[in-house]
């Protein structure tokens, strides 16, 4: 136990996800030794992020104004919506520069153990967006685990009757990897999802 405010700092840091007591202590001492300017900058950013960042009114991605950058961009393709679980998934997909459509952030996945049902996700908002007549395809990019899969098939069944094409991201072998290092589940999936080549 450290005295007063040092311990407070360690406790606060320790509440962050992925930070255990040891890491918290290390970060705290790093901050103690850092320049005052650096620390001030960090503190200001922390405050500003809470004050200025909102969620996009359309897709629930993080945004600095009412709309996120993607939704505000008139050049984005309006025929496709990619459905993801979290904002960070948007960033991951944006990095590929493959997808030019828009997003919809659900804010999680169906998880009865944690009490998350469709009502806790932005599903109704997604349904409202489907009324757009230019829309031709929904790409479901939830995580390839069992909660993500359940969410995906739930959405597919809800959207299917509306006559919009629903696709799901492929899962399988990583690019640049070796077959021998792939685990059985991934390899099995890759076999299942194989494509006709010639």
């Amino acid at each position: 136990m450290y005295e007063g405010v040092v311990q407070d700092l360690i406790d606060e840091l320790g509440r962050l996800p992925g930070v255990g007591p040891k890491s918290a202590q290390r970060i705290a001492f790093h901050l103690l030794e850092a320049d005052e300017d650096d620390v001030r900058r960090l503190a200001e950013v922390l405050l500003r992020v809470k004050e200025t960042v909102h969620f996009c009114e359309i897709c629930f991605n993080v945004a600095e104004s009412n709309l996120c950058r993607v939704c505000a961009d008139p050049q984005r393709d309006t025929t496709m919506i990619c459905v993801v679980e979290e904002s960070k998934d948007v960033v991951a997909i944006e990095r590929t520069r493959e997808f030019r459509g828009r997003y919809h952030v659900l804010g999680g996945a169906l998880n009865p153990i944690e009490g998350i049902g469709p009502g806790d996700l932005h599903v109704t908002e997604l349904m409202a967006r489907l009324g757009d007549s230019t829309l031709t395809e929904i790409i479901i990019a939830t995580n390839p685990n069992h909660t993500g899969e359940a969410t995906a098939s739930y959405l597919a069944r809800q959207i299917g009757p509306m006559g919009i094409k629903v696709s799901r991201l492929a899962s399988g072998l990583p690019v640049g990897g070796d077959l021998e290092y792939a685990d059985e589940v991934t390899l099995g999936r890759a076999f299942e999802g194989r494509r006709v080549f010639a």
């Binding site: 169906l110 153990i113 049902g117 009502g119 359940a150 098939s153 069944r157 685990d183 059985e184 589940v185």
Partner: protein
């Protein structure tokens, strides 16, 4: 394949042990509680990353030590591989294969294969369905590792589905019983049923492939079981295995007849079952169909082994199951797994001993433990090691007799290393009836503590101060510690009649229970699975109303409770005390789900 060398550090009762092993038979001889089983347990742990005796790793580490090391040199086709495993309770274990850098422990699976028969295996015949399911699933994974993934997938999906059923229970119940729903509730009911369909689909897909895999395994295994039992018992009666499926009857009948339906067909049957069982599942808040509810019936001749077979026959049947697994793996791997026979001979008659010896003599490597060297037939003459107080030597220790007290005063790991009984065999059990472990004057104190709702600690994991607690059952004389049903998740206060609060709730539930359900409940409570959990054949323990709580349902076995509370349940464990739960929504049931 065979083990050439086994070395232990801080494992169970061993601070250090180095054992050279050769092809053929190696026998470990020693008094009870000296650490024979600990040696073979270490070998089994390297092969399966789990102990056949305990579900968590803490008891594996020598008392007072922080971590345990197990190292083994495995020879297969005259190529040697060194496996190293560091066991740290509560943290991830670390493993090494050969000289490579540390890898995930699961990467060492498959390098060493063992088939281990231990006295605990008697539960395969006499115990709950969960034991048999685990046997099948473990063998499945040993043959094809990918089933480990399917199993854990099934577990996770099942947990989610159960959670959904439970959390949505109020609104689903109200809707299906014709109660009027507010518009809000109606929407919530609709979406819940919608999501339930998703979990049904996923559970059906994974469940069907799991059942399919089990059935094919059983088809391959059955002939080996029959021939192994035949050989051990010299053709006394025919040993058969029948898969008892929880799927709808039409399919279940065909499965029971030995047919293996296609996977698609099983999946359809799952959906049909979900449809038929919906009301019951909603009422109970658990999934009632699937591989986690299935069983394998073992039959000898015309009669089921459980409840009818003698002790020796049950023992032989359990042995036949393991030997069948050995033959199956031998065919698959094109090499022999290491066969481990832990304390097997003491319970067999002379004829069966000789025949067993003849059967295993051709295995590449056999490790045998025995308390009495004379129990091991001469046909299995091999190298003999003498195990004394956590040390292994090739020569017999000097005749200085070890007293029982001398062996039990050691660490808890020492105390559990007893391999004398068919079951967890606490020596203190032999104390006169009506007494509790420890000083007689402690008895009352302990008993009162129970009534007040203290947590029970079995002699296997004694409380830190070393004072064991536990009260024998008055009706059966069973000295296995049990948690009185009043004591479970909540520390409940005794009320007017000395009943616990939980008990009162029980009686209310019973009053309101419809007569049909009660009959069904009683019918289930009469079945052969109602044996006392001490597995000594006390039958009446769970039938009839408990004097303490008024509970009529079967009690939850300690094992199941342990598995649930550690969250380490396999397909069977999953917060679903399925085998023992009362038909109704019942406190016993609830306690198991915490």
């Amino acid at each position: 394949m065979r083990l050439r060398h086994l070395s232990l550090r801080d494992f169970r009762s061993y601070s250090e042990a180095e054992v050279d092993l050769t092809e053929g038979v190696t026998t470990f001889v020693g008094l009870n509680g000296q650490g024979k089983t600990n040696l073979v347990e270490a070998a089994g742990y390297l092969a399966s990353l789990g102990s056949h005796r305990v579900s968590n790793d803490a008891p594996l580490v020598r008392f007072g030590a922080e971590r345990a090391f197990v190292r083994a040199a495995v020879v297969r086709d005259s190529r040697e591989t060194v496996l190293e495993l560091e066991i740290v309770p509560g943290r991830a274990n670390r493993a090494r294969v050969g000289r490579s850098a540390a890898t995930r422990p699961r990467d060492i699976l498959g390098t060493l294969r063992t088939v281990l028969f231990a006295p605990e295996d008697l539960a395969l015949v006499k115990g709950d369905p969960g034991e048999r399911r685990r046997f099948l699933d473990e063998l499945l994974v040993a043959r094809q590792p990918r089933w480990a993934g399917a199993r854990s997938d099934y577990d996770k999906i099942l947990k989610q589905r159960n959670a959904l059923l439970r959390s949505a229970q109020p609104v689903l119940r109200k809707g299906s019983r014709g109660g009027t729903l507010t518009p809000e509730e109606a929407v919530s009911r609709e979406t819940t049923l919608d999501t339930l369909v998703e979990w049904n689909t996923h559970l059906a897909a994974v469940g069907a492939s799991l059942v399919y895999a089990r059935l094919r395994l059983l088809r391959d295994l059955a002939p080996h079981v029959a021939s192994s039992y035949d050989e051990v018992s010299a053709g006394r009666s025919e040993a058969r295995l029948t898969y008892v499926s929880s799927l709808p009857e039409a399919v279940a009948h065909r499965i029971a007849d030995g047919e293996v339906p296609e996977r698609e067909e099983l999946e359809k049957a799952f959906h049909q079952a979900f449809e038929e069982m919906r009301q019951r599942e909603i009422d109970r808040g658990v999934t009632l169909v699937g591989p986690h509810r299935d069983d394998v019936t073992l039959t000898l001749g015309e009669l089921p082994a459980k409840g009818y077979a003698s002790h020796g026959e049950s023992w032989s049947f359990a042995l036949a199951l393991r030997l069948a697994a050995f033959h199956l793996l031998r065919n698959d791997l094109k090499t022999d797994p290491v066969l481990v026979l832990d304390d097997v001979f003491a319970e067999l008659d002379a004829g069966r001993r000789e025949r067993l010896a003849a059967m295993v003599a051709d295995a590449e490597q056999v490790l045998i433990t025995a308390a009495v060297a004379e129990d091991v037939p001469d046909a299995l003459s091999g190298r003999t090691y003498y195990v004394t107080k956590g040390s292994v030597s090739a020569e017999e220790a000097d005749a200085a007799p070890l007293t029982e007290s001398g062996t039990t005063s050691g660490s808890p790991a020492d105390a559990t290393s007893d391999d004398g009984g068919a079951d967890h065999d606490c020596r203190r059990r032999r104390q006169p009836r009506g007494r509790v472990h420890g000083r007689p004057d402690d008895a009352r104190g302990t008993r009162r503590e129970f009534g007040g709702g203290t947590r029970d600690v079995c002699c296997r994991g004694r409380p830190p101060d070393g004072s064991p607690s536990g009260v024998g059952s008055r009706s059966t004389g069973c000295r296995r510690t049990r948690v009185p049903s009043g004591v479970s998740t909540h520390a409940s206060k005794p009320t007017r009649h000395g009943h616990t609060r939980r008990a009162q709730r029980t009686r209310r539930t019973q009053r309101s229970r419809p007569a049909a359900a009660r009959q069904q409940h009683e019918a289930t409570a009469r079945g052969p699975r109602m044996e006392c959990r001490c597995r000594r054949g006390h039958r009446d323990v769970t039938v009839g109303r408990s004097r303490r709580t008024g509970c009529r349902g079967p009690r939850l076995s300690r094992q199941l409770r342990e598995r649930n509370s550690h969250g380490t349940g396999g397909v069977d464990g999953v917060g679903d005390p399925a085998d023992l739960a009362c038909v109704d929504d019942h406190p016993v049931d609830r306690a198991g789900r915490r």
